[in-house]
Symmetry: C2
């Protein structure tokens, strides 16, 4: 692989490096801990986790339960994705043969089409019958796809009666009636769609998971999680809720600064304002200080107001900004890892890169490119004979962080179903 | 990879080739069929399957439930073995952390030592604590290992109390008392050792499996199985049972000849006499005609009488010989595939080659070498866009045949436990 500049050079100036070595050295205990977690909290069907690595801390910043980007996975390891899919489906039920994938309506987005085509191909290769259908008719987004129908509680697509329904549509526009109370299982759960879910709730669960993990393995939890605050209702147009936003942001800046002092970090704290139910990197704004909030201009307001599907943004999360201190050696582009899993089976992932963004900015924006993480460098197992900063060990840590985020989503799911 | 001479050139002269295309084209139905089988018959913990491919038929000739040779697996795909191990262990129980491997006593066999060291490393990398111990003390093969003890029903190795015991010893010399009725689960079952198991029983189960499979998918079952006969008690020294052997051999030659006529096969039928509980390629003799049985000389008798561990051979199986019509392009060595699995998870395998053996002889003998089967050519999924004789599709067929043999072993296990 092309070398990613080692994080070691970013980290050597910081004193607290033990979390890397704790995770590498306690590999067996960590794997055993995860095994016990999955018994009680089965992982959602699939997920992709955006991770930021500043060197001194490594944390997830977004957990996507309706992942796209399958086309960016390394094609060389297709058999691994097939095998992981087989396990995830078999674990759910060994009696599945026919699968209907409910996709997004992005008929003009070549990236998305390429992603679902890859997903379809992988599931077929895993030995299942697959049909794909977007929720809405192509010509009229307000209409449910005409080929979808119901026979009492049984969902039917054309003449295809699926054993399960796989959602690759994040339901930003709500839960469609045709999917409610159908007899077939829906993976992941309908209530994990963005109308019901929020980043705040996810990161509350993540924080619980990380408190537990950090206590067991004696790591400062801050090193593995982004701090965050939630502000309730916000109206960017009328500035309703701005005071609250400023209060919470001040608190968050203070907390980050305290940690920076403790660890002797010479970077400038920053934070992201994110749509609490946003996705596709939309509805995201970078804030370097409190004044930035006060000076939000009209263009930014307009940008924040509308997110995916034209849904009005009225809730935001303030999330600690985590510098992405990984760069490609060849072109010095800032890179952040995105890790995929089917169920709790990690399957590697890729680096998201951006040529015109710096190490604090959101890389999930037009102009981004992708570089596969070689799974031969295994996210599933560390190598004690190598440096804790080696690629193999770094990827193992990413695999641990990604699974902690999947576990947080599993707990969301558990509580929805309970 | 180095090319294996395509089987296509061996097969084009035969009329009945549809079994290749049936298996490739009915991929989804076959995977669905397997999924249903594993529900009722969970696969033994691990296995390696010796397969012979004559072009016109592909069949397993030996199913090893205490596999060695892990060192011959392609190291590039280590993460796949780790992941398969995790699934096999998790499926058995998610509460396992400590594993004791009971090994063979081959302390001077570098190949075996290299194999169990690889196995140990893979299980450690999968996130488990592992200790290895041979059944017997190194200095005195008659003594049970002194570090093994019991606290009531709990097996203890030194101070290590395993959660499960993994057998990599085929128990040719019987079931040791110290392992009887212990509180920890033993994988695979003690009764799958060679004192209890026989090739005859395995191939009876295999034949049942293949009758079922062949009926569902409309394939002549002979194309996927070696015919066999069992002779009861044989004493090669006193020639007791020779008449019976001759009768059964005559019958078997007749059956093979009939099939060769039907399919227009211009090869000479042959068969193997194998120790019914033999292993390591020992206790095997090639028979080209009935006279060969009558003329078995003293050297051959002596060779057949003693097999692994000096156990006296008194039961044999007569097995249809299957020509191994695969050769390496570069050195024209005859090659046969050996496929590995953990539980029902295929993990690829290797070719066993022999420079001084022809296409009818046993390749599992001193002088054999190994060449990894590249798993990127996936045994788990065919490719409809390629020829049915392409490597990818050939390996998928091997994967199907290997799993049919694993399923036969799973049925043995099921009936032992029932």
């Amino acid at each position: 692989m092309e070398n990613i500049k080692s994080i070691a050079q970013y980290t050597k100036s910081f004193t607290n490096q033990e979390f890397h070595s704790i995770i590498i050295n306690k590999h067996t205990e960590i794997e055993s801990w995860f095994r016990r977690q999955w018994i009680k909290y089965p992982a959602p069907f699939y997920s992709s986790i955006d991770i930021r690595n500043s060197g001194y801390k490594i944390a997830p910043i977004d957990t996507n339960l309706f992942p796209a980007g399958f086309n960016n996975l390394d094609k060389k390891f297709e058999f691994l994705y097939i095998s992981a899919l087989q396990h995830a489906l078999e674990k759910f039920s060994p009696n599945i043969t026919k699968i209907l994938i409910i996709t997004e309506n992005h008929t003009r987005n070549q990236f998305y089409i390429s992603s679902i085509n890859t997903l379809e191909k992988l599931i077929k290769k895993a030995g299942f019958e697959v049909k794909m259908c977007p929720l809405c008719d192509f010509d009229d987004v307000d209409k449910i796809n005409l080929q979808l129908s119901r026979n009492n509680d049984t969902l039917i697509y054309d003449e295809f009666i699926p054993d399960i329904v796989l959602l690759n549509n994040d339901l930003s526009q709500g839960i469609p009636k045709i999917l409610e109370n159908i007899s077939q299982p829906i993976l992941p759960d309908l209530n994990l769609g963005w109308t019901k879910r929020s980043k705040t709730i996810h990161f509350q669960y993540y924080s619980d998971v990380i408190q537990n993990f950090s206590r067991v393995f004696e790591i400062d939890s801050w090193l593995l999680e982004p701090l965050f605050e939630n502000c309730g209702e916000i109206d960017f147009k009328t500035k309703q809720g701005e005071d609250c936003l400023i209060d919470h942001a001040s608190k968050l800046f203070r907390l980050i600064e305290e940690k920076y002092v403790i660890y002797g970090i010479n970077e400038k704290p920053y934070m992201m304002i994110k749509a609490d139910s946003g996705t596709y990197g939309m509805g995201i704004m970078l804030i370097n200080n409190i004044d930035d909030i006060k000076k939000i201009n009209r263009k930014q307001r307009t940008k924040m107001i509308k997110t995916k599907g034209g849904i009005k943004l009225n809730k935001v999360i303030l999330q600690e900004g985590i510098y992405s201190n990984e760069k490609f050696n060849s072109n010095y582009q800032v890179a952040e890892p995105v890790i995929y899993s089917f169920g709790n089976n990690l399957v590697g992932g890729f680096y998201r890169m951006h040529g015109s963004k710096n190490n604090s900015e959101n890389l999930n924006s037009p102009g981004m490119t992708f570089y596969p993480i070689p799974f031969s460098e295994a996210c599933i197992s560390p190598d004690n004979s190598q440096s804790i900063y080696s690629d193999t060990n770094k990827f193992y840590i990413y695999g641990v962080i990604a699974r902690l985020a999947v576990l947080a989503a599993a707990k969301e799911l558990y509580n929805i179903e309970a």
